[in-house]
Symmetry: C2
Subunit: 581 residues, 2 copies
């Protein structure tokens, strides 16, 4: 067989097996060395290909798709720094447990480390940030090599999706000529070899372990169920059952998917960040037991409360094999599928579902909610918090909202109240970078059909290139851009008290008029002057790329937030004075 | 001492020592964990700070500055994916031997790998792509720790600049509170401890080694001196002396800095790529000995010629400790400073400086040059090759031209003829990526005062964010943007013969109207309709950001190139037929 035939068979075997494992999407960046893989992916009837010129954007796009679908997406690029551009998204996918299958084309061994062009050392390129790395053999025709290729494709998918899910990296050395043989069509006839399948179990605790946990929590009224980022169908129902049976309220991060949805909301506490802001009341709100699911919630005041709980039973439940306890107050590391854990523990206990502890949290949460609502109703000017309450009201049922890091996710945490719509909220909360957010949202839009993105101006700038995907692939993406001309979060940090160099080092106003960028990418641009125009733009959105730029003021934003938190604190004073009388 | 005082003393000691080692420039991206280093760098009177919001762009900006100055530049970013964004530029700097000092702030050990926000594993983050990695200790006040900090700052600079120069990476774990103590001013009084200095030697061959090489080349008339990327003051004079004394013509890549400058050009061959395109004449042009300096030249036809030289003495001279022989025809790996090597070998030989071999190369080169010149003069439409010949004519004496990868550098290789102006040509020819080129050129402009950039549309798009640096730091950058709406280089590759999926996978037309982007970044945009307008825009350029977009056609470009190479081949036929009669 000729080189090109051997290469074609080898790569087609790999791609066919990816398809047999159910992989359907590939994000491909143009390049020379990756030519045969790109051409064969495009040739395969099952693969949908997205072309992205900027590899950094491509990787975040794939991350968004994979996060939305909870299924692995293939990434493909050429050799050299192209592959290094994937690094931020690979690191993020690794921590936020998103399955990616990264394929990098490489120069063959004789062209490595000898000064050949477009060659960097790609062996273990992402270090410990990829769950698994495999240096593929040069294309060969032998049956054992082909079976290895089949195995490796299977194992790549299995490793990427197994909890904790994450990115895997396969490096393919390829020799010229790089054009595959497309006649006869490589995927026309069924392969004679059987595809390799998989069956993946979940971690489950035995009855004895569950009974021990049940015995530990049973005497404790003051318990909290805390849900950080967790996006598993069936989890809301399971954790609500656990809450019913224990009487513990659920502190629900916006990324827990518990604040929206068709399930009941009476046991969901969403205003804990505001309630815990003033440390004066922490004593009243401190639990005797904590059951925590998912990644650490966004809320800093919750983190501070948890840190204080030095002698409290604190179960960190993880269906993957992670270690997610930055507050270092976990007393039992529980490795069990979250849904199975909730159901089994709920069966093992039966406590007062409306204890006074529960009632306190419920009442305070409702009062905080109405303070937020009244504050937002009376707010007439364009404001970051109100943008979120308006979004919650106006987003259509069934929407997907992607949220940027830094201020937007915190604003969503503070202002996004429970509601009965299905609104799925996603964000890159692995490493919490402001990078790659536009591309991730574009990826979400590509897989789900339409997405909304709430993002700040620095993060929007950082990943402006992501908008090209909206243009090239005709995606439906509505961006709500909070433009406070710089890094708003730093105004909440101690360096804000050091005016010298503050704007230069932290405020970093860019003064960019994003209207130009939106036009370049063929989008509609709206800059509402008031809430009426904002509502019109948001409600009127149907499809394509639209950017609604909400101009706000960093200083006023800090003031508004702090005023509201003060109101909540006063309300709590009233409540607890009543209690103490 | 309090934590903040200890941290301030520790970091100020480090920064003071960087300054003592002559480092003057830092590119800083805003972030929280890096707060104390950023604030102290801004506080130090010797440091010039450039703020860049996008870390990928920041790293390429620093790379451009460091390349231009041949001096190390500091990079600083916060923890998390921010640091991963540096990876492409770090990989490029490593191969292209550019000194960078990468400082990443990190969470302290107790917040690593425990699910804390903005924390990724930063230990050896860049793997073998950083020349040196050091995990810094947590800030401490002890004299030994401070002396270690001084040593490490010194060693970072020394390691970065020592040949082969490259990036070093120091990771700083820092605890809150992160604001340093600025009162009393940390750099107001002279430090009592003496700074640590350095003295760095160069590799030099002994007389015996030089004599052996002289003896090997002395009997050989048909020798070639080949200069790839090499940017060392004094090298042009040294290599010209060697050429004089050996009679060997110099094949000079555009990045050898030999095609421009005040030195004589009669021994410089710049049209070898065209001369070697038609393999029919390779036999006449094949040397008996090769002396090669710098990285492999851009020219593919030269690479192919070298590959054929199986039994020819081939000296690969490297002042660093690299291995730059992708053609694998090197017969002696010579580790010696290039200037010292030229001078010593020139003293050891004295051969016919105008042999018939030299005359042949000289004559053919002049003929090729006039074919290029005539072809470009008769070309009336906007054309990629002619853009380069026009640039060579119009760039003012003393200009610096940054050249993008893929087609632009190849066009410069083919069309940029020798001239007597001082025009320094720079490019990212380590891994030859199309990424980071705008930012690199902006960095060059920042250090030299003004720069020109020749770039293709995909590469321009890839790093559009780099233009923000031009806006924020009021840089003088004139971009000559060749827009053929997609990846022009693929039209020269075999896949161009497979029309199915070609445009989608390789052509990748974006259809972007870059005028919008230029306006957003506050630049002047010109789209000349003809050469008169092009000349007007280029000659009229004075300062600020200006983008001259030259719209060309990919198909026509391939045609024009091939026609010209055919003419050169015909000219050679005439020449060699004359010879053979």
């Amino acid at each position: 067989m000729e080189h090109q035939e051997i290469m074609t068979t080898y790569l087609a075997t790999f791609i066919r097996q990816l398809s047999a494992m159910g992989v359907r999407h590939a994000v491909v960046s143009p390049g020379s060395r990756s030519t045969p893989i790109a051409m064969l992916l495009a040739e395969h009837p099952n693969f949908q290909i997205y072309i992205d010129i900027d590899e950094r954007s491509a990787a975040f796009f794939a991350l968004g798709m994979a996060k939305e679908m909870r299924k692995p997406v293939v990434l493909l690029c050429t050799s050299g720094t192209a592959a290094a551009n994937y690094f931020p998204a690979v690191a993020e996918a690794n921590i936020s447990r998103v399955p990616l299958i990264v394929l990098t084309a490489d120069r063959p061994h004789e062209l490595r480390n000898v000064g050949a062009p477009q060659a960097i050392d790609q062996i273990r390129l992402y270090g410990p940030h990829a769950k698994w790395f495999e240096e593929m053999p040069l294309p060969e025709a032998g049956g054992e090599v082909l079976q290895f290729v089949r195995q490796t494709a299977t194992r790549a998918v299995v490793t990427a999706v197994q909890q904790p899910a994450g990115p895997v990296h396969l490096n393919f050395p390829l020799r010229e000529p790089l054009v595959p043989v497309l006649d006869p069509p490589p995927f026309a006839c069924k392969e004679e070899n059987q595809a390799i399948g998989s069956a993946i179990g979940k971690l489950e605790l035995g009855g004895g372990e569950i009974q021990k946990i049940a015995a530990a929590i049973r005497p404790k009224e003051r318990g909290l169920i805390i849900c950080g980022t967790i996006d598993e169908p069936g989890f809301p129902e399971a954790v609500l059952t656990l809450s019913e049976k224990t009487g513990y309220p659920i502190l629900a991060d916006p990324l827990s998917q518990l604040r929206s949805g068709k399930h009941g909301k009476e046991r969901i506490i969403e205003n804990y960040d505001s309630l815990l802001k003033d440390p004066k009341w922490a004593g009243y709100l401190a639990p005797d037991v904590v059951i925590r699911f998912g990644a650490m919630p966004v809320s800093k005041s919750l983190t501070l409360l948890l840190k204080k709980l030095e002698t409290v039973d604190h179960f960190v439940v993880d269906g993957g094999n992670g270690w997610r306890d930055p507050v270092k107050r976990g007393t039992t590391a529980v490795y069990c599928d979250e849904i199975a854990f909730c159901n089994k523990l709920a069966s093992a206990v039966s406590m007062d579902s409306h204890s006074s502890w529960f009632t306190m949290w419920h009442t305070l949460n409702e009062r905080a909610r109405s303070i937020v609502e009244i504050a937002m109703e009376t707010e007439k000017g364009l404001d970051e918090g109100k943008t979120v309450t308006e979004l919650a009201k106006l987003l259509p049922d069934g929407s997907t909202l992607f949220v940027g890091n830094s201020m937007p996710i915190r604003d969503v945490d503070t202002f996004f109240q429970v509601n009965s719509k299905n609104i799925r909220i996603l964000a890159n909360r692995g490493a919490n970078g402001i990078d790659g957010v536009v591309s991730s949202a574009a990826g979400v839009s590509a897989s789900v059909g339409k997405a909304y993105l709430l993002i700040g101006d620095l993060s929007f700038f950082h990943d402006l290139n992501g908008l090209l995907m909206a243009k090239m692939h005709k995606l439906n993406l509505c961006v709500i851009l909070i433009n406070n001309n710089g890094g708003g979060i730093f105004s909440f940090l101690p360096q804000a008290n050091e005016p010298k160099n503050f704007e230069r080092l932290f405020g970093t106003p860019t003064g960019l008029e994003f209207e130009y960028a939106v036009k370049m990418y063929g989008g509609r641009y709206v800059k509402p002057r008031d809430w009426k125009e904002f509502r019109g733009a948001l409600s009127g959105y149907e499809n394509g790329l639209q950017v609604i730029e909400v101009q706000t003021d960093r200083a006023k934003n800090v003031e508004n937030h702090r005023r509201m938190w003060m109101q909540v604190s006063r309300e709590m004073e009233t409540y607890f004075q009543g209690e103490n009388q």
